[in-house]
């Protein structure tokens, strides 16, 4: 079947099977920043934004996003033009192995887009679907607070 979808602001059309999940389609089409961690919707490594809400692409029927707006980590920033979230994650040491980072950053983006000044509880709730075994989350939460501050200041 044909899947028409907007990915990172660009209209795309892919051939997909009706039984496929979005993760497999995205990775096949080269969006390899979307990671495969558990294939069961439990770890958040494959998280993407669909119409600005966070979803685990490994349990999402690919066809269900027809006509929608999908944002992957590739749509957030590039190595030469890091998004403030990406820069802050690096500055605060919120990245170790980096495997959970794309999903984590998208989760933070979804949060900050609707709440520019989240408290610690709200941050923890927004990230509760993104497993990280390296950092103990301490520096991630710190980075979110700092990024929120700088995004408010710049008014991004």
């Amino acid at each position: 079947m044909k899947l028409n979808v907007r990915i990172n602001g660009k209209d795309k059309s892919f051939r997909v099977g009706p039984e496929e999940v979005l993760l497999d389609v995205l990775r096949r089409e080269g969006y390899t920043g979307v990671k495969r961690g558990c294939r069961k919707g439990d770890c958040g490594a494959c998280a993407v934004l669909i119409d600005n809400e966070l979803f685990n692409s490994c349990v999402l029927p690919a066809m269900s996003v027809a006509g929608k707006d999908v944002i992957t980590i590739e749509g957030i920033g590039t190595p030469n033009a890091l998004h403030v979230l990406q820069r802050t994650f690096l500055e605060e040491g919120a990245v170790q192995c980096g495997f959970c980072t794309p999903g984590m950053i998208l989760a933070v983006k979804a949060l900050l887009d609707r709440n520019e000044d989240p408290n610690e509880t709200e941050i923890k709730e927004a990230l509760d679907g993104n497993l990280c075994r390296c950092t103990g989350y301490v520096k991630i939460i710190k980075a979110v607070k700092k990024a929120a501050r700088s995004m408010r200041e710049v008014g991004e």
Binding site: R27, Y31, T32, G33, V34, K35, R36, G37, C38, R39, K40, D42, C43, A45, T72, I73, E74, I76, G77, T78, P79, L82, Q86, R87, F89, L90, E91, E92, G93, V95, Q96, C97, G98, F99, C100, T101, P102, I105, I123, K124, E125, L127, D128, G129, N130, L131, C132, R133, C134, T135, G136, Y137, V138, K139, I140, I141
Partner: protein
């Protein structure tokens, strides 16, 4: 040296590979796209112990898209160990790529290679296996009894170093040691504490599962791209398992999505390499999360029986520790983990009479391997609970008790020499120790003085404070080797080539910092390339808390040699002698005139203009010592006396890792380790049925901590200077995981007066303990 002001080391520089990681551009194994790639899936055994009488693959072969099927009938049967250790490996050669017998639920029966993962998976379901079921042994004490089922009855199983190994009794390893006079020690004791502690199964849960890709090349060589902590051991052991020369294999480690020990194991590489060589096409294999739980590696469950005695004044008079380790169906890391129970725990406290017995036995359960903490986690649990109990019994503050007894600067322990990793150890004395500062500041942060020993009266929810003191090591002395090469480029930048393996820890970054500090340039001048067996020098890999201390020193030596070569050219250019210059901020400066030439000037001259040569050096390092990092952990918990629920409110960790090369990365190591330890202590658990099958192999039912489970966390570093480490550094990566088990157990005791010895400390167990207490 210590008086010099550091310019790069000691600063929290950004990770050198960071930009790729945060943008999703960094390549992990799964992102390494090959044309014409085939997929492998592995058929796991449904039985804990069985002989394969026959395998019928006809139906699987008939499925379109199936390319190859491997079983014990068409795979070379070469005994090896899957433990990614140095040669000669201390683990028994008891594994085959695939065998005619299965020894745990999930053990390998067959491998299917197909055009897609879906087809390969479907084909697994079409393989018909005729099993002869054998009695299984699921309990480690049962496994030691006479007449127990023999798990490794094949004649090939053997060890290649002279250590006790008797598969006919399921005995994988035995190590013992005794110093002083135990009888005299216990007779002098006013108080004796004895208890049994049961550290349990757990999985590492890296977010990236095991994944390996093998790519054949036209010259008959094979490239293995793999998620590993030990690329050089992968090369050697894969060659061995396939019966081909090492020179035919190249291993590249791309970015790795976490390891924690489970990727110090050669699991998938021989299988994909075998397939790629036979078929002549690239073959990839990625474990599912379920396979990761049941058939990769786990922590060794260890029963520790610990008897300790002390005088009323707080002198420890005797320590008798017996560790019985369950190594599951294969003996990977069996000997060394149980050795570390003693060698990384017993030296912490001064005592003249110490006895240690470590035994490891086979069972028909999932296979443990290396796991962050590596035996210290299991035995420190026992030790720190006993320390707490002894202090309470003599009416001494447990912190005072620790301070009175712990090893410090200038002290040595006979244990260091008597017990190492696999056999005898190396004598050493402690040259850096910040444990007292860790204890004092940690006690302040948790509010020890105000809260410890407090009484909540008849409140239903009670609070308690617990503590633990810890040590680990830094590399395996006289065994592990790390090496580095540094080469200067036209613009004064450098290639830093290292075998060391950054699995997310940041070792590429801290090694670049060490090189830059020594050379007198900046981290950004170092182009780091690591872990490619064709291109980089040897390194044992990422384990045993070794990279910073061991490879860090190799890098420093290499940089010092390159610096000499730079100075030689620079001094010539300045027209002064080599003694009359100093190196600072990418330049060679004449001490006399202040005149300078830049690194770039030196590079251009040496490469193009005069006496042309490549400024370059290689150096390697083995350590004589394994200086312990130290840590003190504190925790505050809330215990619900009606339901037994334990909630961790606050966790404080203070760590002495010497001079942190990159404080932010070092803190990150301690924070990640402590949360893993906490999750292990409170929720993580393998639930087995009576057939040895794990019932909860997924993140829905095996709960690892999420953001919403976090207590308040305070982590700090205490800076000391280890004279034998690079810029005073020791290790940091493992120690932080060892504290939660004893600290939580001690805190529960402080809150409600019951001693929990069987983690995880679930509500059910706590309530049971409270009920038992109330009965008496």
């Amino acid at each position: 040296m210590s008086g010099d002001k550091l310019k790069v080391v000691g600063f929290s520089e950004m990770k050198v590979d960071g930009r790729g990681l945060v943008t999703g551009k960094a390549k992990y194994t799964a992102d390494w796209v090959e044309n014409d790639m085939l997929h492998m899936k592995i058929l796991g055994s449904p039985h804990a112990h069985a002989r394969i009488k026959g395998i019928d693959t006809t139906r699987a072969w008939n499925l379109p898209g199936v390319v190859e099927i491997f079983t014990h009938e068409n795979v070379p049967r070469i005994p090896h160990t899957t433990a990614g250790q140095g040669y000669p490996e201390p683990s028994p050669y008891d594994s085959f790529i695939v065998d005619r017998k299965v020894r745990f639920v999930g053990d390998r029966v067959a491998m299917v290679v197909a055009e897609s993962e879906t087809i390969a998976k479907e084909a697994l379901g079409l393989i018909e296996v005729d099993y002869e079921l054998l009695p299984a042994v699921l309990d480690l004490e049962e496994a030691m009894k006479e007449g127990a089922p023999v798990i490794h009855d094949e004649e090939e199983a053997h060890v290649i170093i002279p250590v006790p190994y008797d598969p006919s009794r399921n005995l994988v390893a035995r190590v013992d040691m005794e110093i002083g006079d135990m009888e005299e020690g216990f007779s002098r004791a006013d108080v004796i504490v004895e208890d049994s502690y049961y550290a349990h199964y757990a999985q590492h849960c890296p977010v990236e599962p095991h994944i390996s890709l093998a790519i054949p090349d036209p010259d008959g060589r094979i490239l293995i791209v793999t998620s590993t902590q030990v690329p050089f051991h992968v090369r050697r052991i894969t060659a061995q398992a396939l019966g081909i020369p090492v020179k035919r294999i190249r291993v590249i480690k791309p970015r790795i999505g976490g390891g924690f020990g489970t990727k110090q194991e050669i699991l998938l590489e021989p299988a994909v390499a075998l397939a790629a060589l036979k078929i002549g096409r690239p073959v990839i294999c990625e474990l599912t999360r379920k396979e990761e739980f049941i058939s990769s590696r786990t922590r060794h469950p260890i029963k520790t029986v610990l008897r300790t005695g002390c005088t009323r004044e707080g002198e420890i008079t005797a320590v008798d520790m017996h560790c019985l380790s369950n190594t599951g169906a294969y003996g990977s890391h069996g000997l060394t983990v149980v050795c570390n129970c003693g060698s990384k725990v017993l030296p912490l406290y001064k005592c003249d009479n110490v006895k240690f017995l470590g035994e490891a036995v086979y069972t028909n359960l999932p296979v443990p391997g290396a796991y962050r903490g590596y035996g210290a986690t299991q035995a420190a649990f026992a030790m720190e609970c006993n320390m707490n109990e002894m202090a309470r019994k003599i009416g001494m503050d447990p912190l005072e008790f620790r301070k009175k007894n712990h090893i410090g600067i200038g002290d040595t322990s006979p244990i260091f020499e008597a017990l190492g990793e696999g056999g005898e150890g190396v004598p050493q004395s402690v040259e850096s120790c910040g444990l007292d500062q860790c204890i004092d500041r940690g006690a302040h942060e948790i509010g020890w003085k105000e809260k410890w020993g407090g009484n909540d009266g008849d409140k239903k929810i009670k609070r308690g404070i617990g503590e633990a003191c810890l040590m680990q090591g830094s590399s395996i002395p006289k065994i592990d080797m790390g090496a580095a090469s540094i080469k200067m480029n036209d613009d004064g930048s450098f290639n830093l080539l290292i075998g060391a393996t950054d699995i997310g820890t940041g070792s590429d970054t801290i090694l670049a910092q060490i090189a830059a500090e020594e050379l007198g340039c900046r981290t950004e001048d170092m182009i780091v390339y690591s872990s490619d067996t064709d291109m980089t020098p040897f390194d044992v890999g990422a384990y045993a808390s070794s990279t910073t201390y061991l490879t860090g020193t190799a890098v420093r030596k290499t940089a010092a040699e390159v610096k000499k070569q730079i100075i030689k050219v620079g001094a010539e250019m300045l027209g002064v002698s080599e003694e009359e210059v100093m190196v600072e901020d990418r330049a060679i400066i004449s001490s006399e005139t202040g005149e300078s030439v830049s690194f770039k000037d030196v590079a251009l001259r040496s490469l193009y203009m005069c006496d042309q040569h490549q400024i370059m050096a290689t150096a390697s390092h083995i350590t004589e010592k394994s200086p312990p990092p130290f840590a003190a952990h504190f925790v505050e918990v809330e215990v619900d006396t009606e339901t037994g629920e334990v909630k961790c409110l606050k966790y404080v960790t203070g760590t002495d890792c010497g001079q942190a090369i990159n404080p932010q990365l070092a803190e990150g190591q301690t924070e990640g380790a402590l949360l893993n330890g906490l999750s292990y202590a409170l929720t993580e658990e393998y639930i087995f049925n009576d057939k040895g099958q794990m019932l909860n192999p997924n993140f829905k039912n095996y709960r690892i901590y999420r953001t919403t489970d976090l207590p308040e966390i305070v982590s700090f570093l205490v800076t000391t200077h280890e004279p034998t480490g690079p810029y005073g550094a020791k290790s940091v990566s493992e120690i932080g995981i060892n504290g939660a088990l004893p600290a939580i157990s001690n805190a529960i005791y402080d809150a409600v007066g019951v001693r929990l010895t069987k983690p995880p400390f679930t509500a059910e167990k706590v309530l049971q303990a409270l009920d038992n207490k109330n009965k008496f």
